[in-house]
Subunit: 437 residues, 3 copies
């Protein structure tokens, strides 16, 4: 439960808000690289944390990200011309480079001060891992910027990963809370109660996992902090006194990884980017550090599968708020717990259903919400500290973002640290950088 | 004419408002029984007086009506599972009974206080006359509730009645005002001026009534109060110095009956239920105390006829605000006064047209608005008294809701009391309870 | 750049605002005459400067313009009956004449004061030049009204003009600013940069004009004031040291004429009418004082051509805000500067793109924005003076609205006054009234 003031502080990321300021200390995904396929192609509207921007891939192939309003008279640069390594307003031909400096102001007399002083708001971008990242912090052209967070998927060869995004029609924070709370797997993603579990001790691994998750709705949670966030582990009772552990990473300000991966399996992660306070993009990536993704895997991801939603050409989920996620009440009665198809869609449904911005003043948290409480403390603490002038450390710890999470079996009494060491070779799931590519 | 403050007080029924408090002392129609056809069927979203609720028919066939938000983290119980005599949130499996008591809180450790203290907001319901009624007043599970209002239609065998509802896209109060003001029949529901009346003294009763209504736009109104509201009568000049009387009932907080019924004919009544301050449901019922409704009558009612609107599967009128009630200007010129088909639709058009919430600070009332003035005084008086701590009497007078109204012919000079006695055997239209069913 | 207060003052025209009061001192186009084709036809909804009104052509063929709300109980007179030289509410038959006086109040007892004192808000109208004009100033029925502005097109025979209108989905002021700023022609309406100009000195006049406009994006502006506004001239370098002049008129409160017309060519003008603060009608007229418009010209105008937009039956542009003006990025790259078809549509796109109400606190004006600055000073000055009690002169100078503008070639060093005299026989473009019709 939060106070109304803290709920506001947590959820609002406009430029003037404390959380907005905090987010702007970190690189943010702005668009997928493939959304801007060619130099001098059509500009694209992008809204990030309430700021209306225009993205364009310039003549050199570099992506510009600028204020959508021309400083002359406020015309929309989205309708502008992307040409000559610049974006040009079609009203009077004002032309700006990637840094927002005027290249041509045709109706301004030579010698006028605008040529030297005028600036269009512009943000630096980098491409990495199939994503165009933007830095929206203060004075981005006059200071040394942090390096990009070294998320593992992004450093792998493109054959080893799949990167996409989807619209989530609610505030970013309740959506990431849904991802960090792995206790909900015992319900939201399960079969309908009448569907029997496979109790055969020789059942396939997947069916065993499912049974353990269904049968223990009250996992015991442990949390370990690291340089850029924390990892949470949940232990459920499994067969013969063993424990089935599932872990998930949180990295500032809004990255996470998923808990199901067993050794050798493909990993999944998410990055939340506020569009405004009532919508966000969830960048979603699958990666396998050990091998290229298979054709079968890729085919499923492209159609939507598991944590990857089925989306249309604009990355809008096919099952969404407006159509009630195509909930099928017969399916809910007989087959799945929700009647909604797809893990990603089940998550979207329940997170959206908390409201455009969840009201945390009325909630009743339980022991299984430990990761949610830690998440709030972490980001609220960071935002409040920044408001007092204390810059966050995490943006400079780019190498600490190389994190994994997943599943593991352990005997009763084994600590979470030990589980993580056994599973990943590191207490909090850090992995080493690859050898030079 | 009302002050802006009284207009607000009259029209707003949110939980914190005086009129909202007043309404919550009375049983309200929540849904039609047939909207929840089967035990453990799909839950249904219901908004009543601004409160977002979920209705579900539980395993025992009893209807639950609960807050739409799970108290854990605010997920929407509409997406929940209706099973095991309870509604279960699909996020973490929290399960609540009809009274809102937790039945299962799977991720809450045994012994935690939530098991004893947590409550989901829940309202008692009763089914009667094809309608699920809800009591939304204070502490509904800890006190003796009033009995249901004994509206006559509800006690009859189902063969003698037809019950439906329709959406009205404006505030409840202006809509009921339209029903209590029977002077508008001389215009809104009439043929176009060029269409001649049948002046033949041997014309059928329907055509005579029509002619009298057309020819006297200034009926003289009388009002008689009773235990739960009042009955209003309007006398128009008829042939040979006689008077054609039409009466309508108002019963607190928002019931009325229609004025046209002659002896032996079918009666009609309405109950208004605020959805929010800008929309309401009008529950509409036809009943004949003397005989089952005929197949012809039922067929017409199902298609929409007279005061029963033509609606779609969601009870949205086919002719509505968005399509301008399919007004046909040629029809308006040559055939009907409005160019809109259907008495119910003509009423809806003109009431909606007063605005989402009619501005009563600018109106100019006339003698024919006597019933409107009395209605406002009655409900405003009740709400203001309650705000001073005086509970209304009417909710405990459930037997006084057995009321009829209709048409009657009388000589000049006969009083309204006498007309009512002649027509219904009672000065204000009360009828006796039927013999034990 | 304006202060936020002046931006509000400039853009808001509700009845209580200073600019709204100023506008209401002038006759305004209310509808096109042809939108009300026949006596006693269907009433029409009209919103002007935020006031919701109903227009109807009465039995005598005169247009009434009245408040949409019946004073009785606020029902919408749009659903009313247009008959007997009056508009009649269908709720209770209240009937009002063109001046808003009650003709019949059927449910008001004879002798009641309403019959004498009640008034429906009603505005005088005049038809002129294919347009129904309305006067919405104070006490319009009790004082001598100004005459209609004698715009030249309106006095010509109908064969010499074409009059239409189009919806513009933004505030009126930024749209008229777009028309007065003729420097944007060097970009917004030009071919794509790669399309060569015809540099042949014997090229047709149109192609020469195009080349001069393209090649000089920094015209020198001169402004000359007159009785009802000002004329602005922009001089661009042409061949052999000559100057290509283009002029545009501004007349209070919101009329303008276009700059391209050469002697003998057809003239074009506009009048902006605020619907509300976020939308306006642009009445657009073509006229040729010397000859009837040709069949070819008329055919083009009806389909949309040049400054006349392609519109649907409700005068909504086919290429509009919702469909991004059907911008074609391939066309933008290869053929036209914008990728949007039509001069009118290019203007609409860029003006809409400034926002529903342009934020003038953030703009950076240049020398070429001289006419915009003068426009703001003129209308803000008028509105502020009126707020201090000083009535504007312009409404009484109806004869001063007979104004032309257009193109002219002159030697270097010739003044704008001289250019205007050579082109129109008058320093500021006034033309004489025609001989008696």
């Amino acid at each position: 439960m939060l106070s109304a003031a803290d709920n506001d502080l947590l959820t609002r990321t406009g430029a003037e808000t404390p959380m907005g300021q905090f987010f702007r200390r970190f690189w943010q995904p702005a668009v997928l690289s493939r959304e801007l396929p060619e130099p001098d192609g059509a500009p694209m509207r992008v809204t990030l944390m309430g700021e209306k921007l225009v993205a364009f891939r310039n003549s050199d192939g570099v992506v510009g990200l600028v204020d959508s309003r021309c400083p002359h008279r406020g015309a929309d640069l989205y309708f502008g011309r992307n040409e000559g390594c610049a974006i040009r307003c079609v009203f009077h031909g004002w032309k700006f480079d990637l840094q927002g400096r005027p290249v041509e102001l045709p109706n301004v007399p030579p010698g006028a001060s605008y040529h030297d002083t005028l600036r269009l708001k512009a943000y630096p971008t980098r491409e990495h891992g199939g994503i165009v990242w933007a830095y929206m912090g203060p004075d981005p052209w006059e200071r040394e910027l942090p390096q990009l967070p070294q998320l593992e998927f992004a450093d792998l060869p493109p054959s080893h990963r799949y990167v996409t995004k989807k619209l989530q029609e609610c505030n970013w924070a309740q959506s990431i809370e849904g991802a960090l709370d792995t206790s909900h797997f015992s319900f939201l993603h399960m079969p309908a109660p009448g569907v029997p579990s496979n109790a055969n001790p020789d059942a396939p691994a997947d069916e065993k996992r499912l049974r353990w998750i269904r049968e223990d709705p009250l996992p015991l949670f442990s949390i370990l902090e690291h340089e850029v966030g924390f990892v949470v582990g949940g232990a459920r009772r499994a067969d013969g006194g063993t424990r089935y552990w599932r872990s998930a990473q949180f990295a500032l300000p809004s990255h996470s990884t998923t808990p199901s991966t067993l050794p050798g399996e493909t990993h999944f992660g998410y990055t939340w980017v506020p569009i405004d306070d009532e919508n966000c993009w969830i960048y979603t990536y699958a990666w396998n550090p050990e091998r290229p993704l298979g054709d079968d895997e890729l085919a499923k991801f492209k159609e939507g599968h598991g944590v990857i939603a089925e989306v249309d050409a604009n990355f809008i989920p096919v099952r969404n708020r407006a159509n009630e996620y195509l909930i099928d009440r017969h399916h809910q009665k007989r087959i799945s717990f929700t009647g909604v198809r797809g893990v990603a869609e089940q998550d979207a449904m329940i997170q959206d259903s908390q409201g455009r911005i969840a009201d945390r003043t009325k909630e009743h948290l339980s022991a299984s919400d430990a990761a949610i409480v830690r998440f709030r403390r972490t980001v609220l603490g960071g935002a409040k500290a920044l408001a007092r002038g204390i810059e966050p450390e995490a943006p400079r710890r780019h190498e600490a973002y190389r994190l994994r999470s997943g599943s593991w079996m352990a005997s009763e009494g084994v600590s979470f640290e030990q589980v993580m060491r056994e599973r990943f070779g590191d207490t909090v799931g850090r992995v080493a950088a690859p050898a030079a590519k």
